[in-house]
């Protein structure tokens, strides 16, 4: 089977975003960008399935600016076989991303799509579910374990009440949670090899998808700042203050 892994180029997860002074958004100029951490987990999972002989090919796909090539190369350095960049400088919302991915899926015919449960920039947590709806496929979201058989995939999901298990007919969409695996670091020889792997470039228009946004961002502001309180010297003072506050 072929596995398709969509990946997104986002602000590096170690960095605190700076909000533009005009409130129009987050300033990403000269900021280190990386692969969305949940997508790294998705790439890792797909590669492990390939290494276990359960998948023949892993294709990474990204929708974004020309620089998203770097993100795709990272995926290929980890072990993906080839890449597709759907190049656009516009901000593309999850619904439009899902529509583009649907068209890519129809061209590539993967047996499974594994993707991050959310991107750490817009925190939408939508694209996988939307893609599953558009394709009429089953969805195993927030996965912490994936067991692939010939005709079904069993997914353990991290849910509010504990761990839920669902069995999905194939083809299916899986979205990754944090504890699914620990992504590998790409080794230098593999980074060199990845430069020679195939990277196709397309545009949203190639797939006939209208990416005009449905949501208009009116402004982006700092969250209300919580002021630091006081450092108390000992447990007795802590207990006394808590009582004064009526907290205990």
């Amino acid at each position: 089977m072929k596995i398709l892994v969509p990946v997104k180029r986002v602000i590096d997860y170690n960095l605190k975003p700076r909000i533009k002074s005009d409130g129009s958004g987050v300033d990403l100029a000269n900021i280190k960008m990386s692969m969305n951490p949940f997508d790294e987990i998705a790439v890792e999972e797909a590669i492990r399935l390939a290494e276990a002989g359960k998948a023949e090919e892993v294709v990474v796909v990204s929708i974004g600016p020309a620089k998203a090539q770097e993100t795709l190369r990272t995926g290929m350095a980890m072990g993906a076989d080839r890449a597709i960049l759907v190049e656009t400088d516009d901000e593309v919302e999850p619904l439009a991303v899902a529509k583009i991915l649907k068209a890519v899926v129809e061209e590539e015919n993967p047996g499974m799509v594994i993707m991050g449960k959310q991107a750490i920039d817009d925190d939408s947590n939508q694209t996988g579910q939307m893609l599953a709806a558009l394709l009429g496929w089953a969805q195993g979201t927030f996965a912490s374990k994936v067991e692939l058989d010939s005709d079904a995939v069993t997914v353990t999901r991290e849910v509010d009440g504990g761990l839920e298990t669902v069995k999905l007919g194939l083809p299916a969409i899986v979205t990754t949670d944090l504890r699914l695996n620990e992504p590998r670091f790409a080794k230098l020889p593999n980074i060199m090899k990845a430069k020679k792997k195939l990277l196709d470039t397309k545009s949203p228009a190639d797939y006939g998808v209208d990416t005009a946004p449905r949501l208009k961002t009116l402004k982006v502001t700092e969250p209300p700042v919580r002021e630091a309180g006081e450092i108390v010297p000992d447990v007795d003072t802590l207990v006394a203050k808590l009582k004064v506050m009526g907290a205990v």
């Binding site: 602000i11 605190k16 975003p17 999850p94 619904l95 899902a98 959310q118 750490i120 920039d121 817009d122 925190d123 939408s124 947590n125 939508q126 694209t127 579910q129 893609l131 599953a132 709806a133 496929w137 089953a138 969805q139 979201t141 927030f142 999901r157 991290e158 849910v159 509010d160 009440g161 504990g162 761990l163 839920e164 298990t165 669902v166 999905l168 007919g169 504890r179 946004p213 449905r214 949501l215 208009k216 961002t217 009116l218 402004k219 982006v220 502001t221 700092e222 969250p223 919580r226 630091a228 309180g229 006081e230 450092i231 108390v232 000992d234 447990v235 802590l238 808590l242 907290a247 205990v248």
Partner: protein, 311 residues
């Protein structure tokens, strides 16, 4: 305007996140109807939903296909009902987050995720970048699909309403997926997202046994729920559903006690709306102290037992 709210329920009990979602739905524009989809136990949850203040009608879809809350089955049910509504709202729980985007795509709507405020009929605030920024967004879609952060809205009163309960039905089993089971974390404690007090532990607790030994007596004393940082969950001290943070549970109790938690951005995003925050950590530079109302720089293995005995 009219709004349909997806009830979250478990064994016939309505989840409190549903009540906050009803409040958000009323702000978007009423009348507010509540859909209870489930198996045999759904009717008890429907009766409970009918008593919620501000709810005009409850739609009860009782079918074995909806028992496991599988998105593949529930989303077509919701989409089929949406002809009669302008907005669909679900709690931003793992169930709501699984189902709502599937509904949105079926309706060709761009969902507004995890709202924390209603600014106008189609204008909402929502956190982005792990809560490091707040975006105000306006939808241009004909219908709205929204998930609601439960801690950001007051809960509608559980009593005082007298809605009618009507049967609803959908396509049933889509035949795509099967619910195998839920490995539920058994606990006598209050549920994390609705608890008044939370005692949370981090990686400094060393291991599972030490976590239990240090955190549990304090939580018992306070009648508190127990939470954990991602580091503590990753290290296997406690199950995944204890995790507080941007990718775990978002909580806002009256009192949050963070023990041996450094305060990574993604943890702070999950608890900084708590009313009173107490931090106990031996590192005076830990970021948790920047949001704590009361901080104690101390070795937790001395301070926590002492705190437990003195409360």
């Amino acid at each position: 305007m009219s709004a349909l709210v997806l009830a979250e329920h478990d064994g016939g009990k309505l989840n409190p996140a549903t009540l906050a979602t009803v409040t958000a739905a009323a702000a978007v524009g009423g009348p507010v109807h509540v859909l209870v989809a489930g198996g045999d136990d759904a009717s008890a949850a429907a009766d409970e939903a009918a008593k919620v203040e501000g709810v005009e009608k409850v739609l009860l879809a009782s079918d074995a296909a909806y028992a496991g809350q599988l998105a593949e089955n529930v989303a077509p049910l919701v989409a089929g009902l949406m002809d009669g509504y302008d907005a669909f709202l679900a709690p931003a729980t793992t169930t709501g987050k699984n189902i709502a985007p599937r509904v949105a795509a079926m309706l060709d709507v761009m969902q507004v995720s995890d709202i924390i405020g209603v600014e106008g009929p189609k204008t909402f605030t929502r956190p982005i970048y792990a809560g490091n920024a707040i975006a105000t967004v306006e939808s241009s879609d004909a219908k709205l699909v929204i998930t609601v952060r439960g801690t950001a809205f007051d809960k509608a009163a559980a009593e005082g309403g007298s809605a009618t309960v009507e049967a609803a039905s959908g396509p049933g089993d889509a035949g795509l997926s099967t619910f195998v089971g839920l490995d539920a974390t058994e606990s006598e404690r209050p549920e994390l997202t609705s608890a008044g007090t939370i005692v949370s532990g981090g990686r400094a607790l060393k291991d599972s046994a030490t976590f239990e030994q240090v955190i549990t007596p304090l939580a018992d004393k306070l009648g508190a729920a127990i939470g954990a940082s991602r580091a503590a969950v990753d290290a296997g001290y406690v199950p995944n559903d204890y995790q507080v943070g941007q990718t775990g549970k978002i909580v806002a109790p009256e009192l949050y006690i963070a023990i041996g938690i450094s305060g990574a951005i993604q943890h702070l995003a999950g608890m900084k709306d708590s009313k009173v925050i107490v931090a106990i950590n031996k590192d005076p530079d830990a970021p948790i102290f920047q949001v704590a109302d009361l901080g104690l720089v101390a070795d937790l293995f001395d301070a926590v037992p002492e705190l437990t005995s003195k409360l």
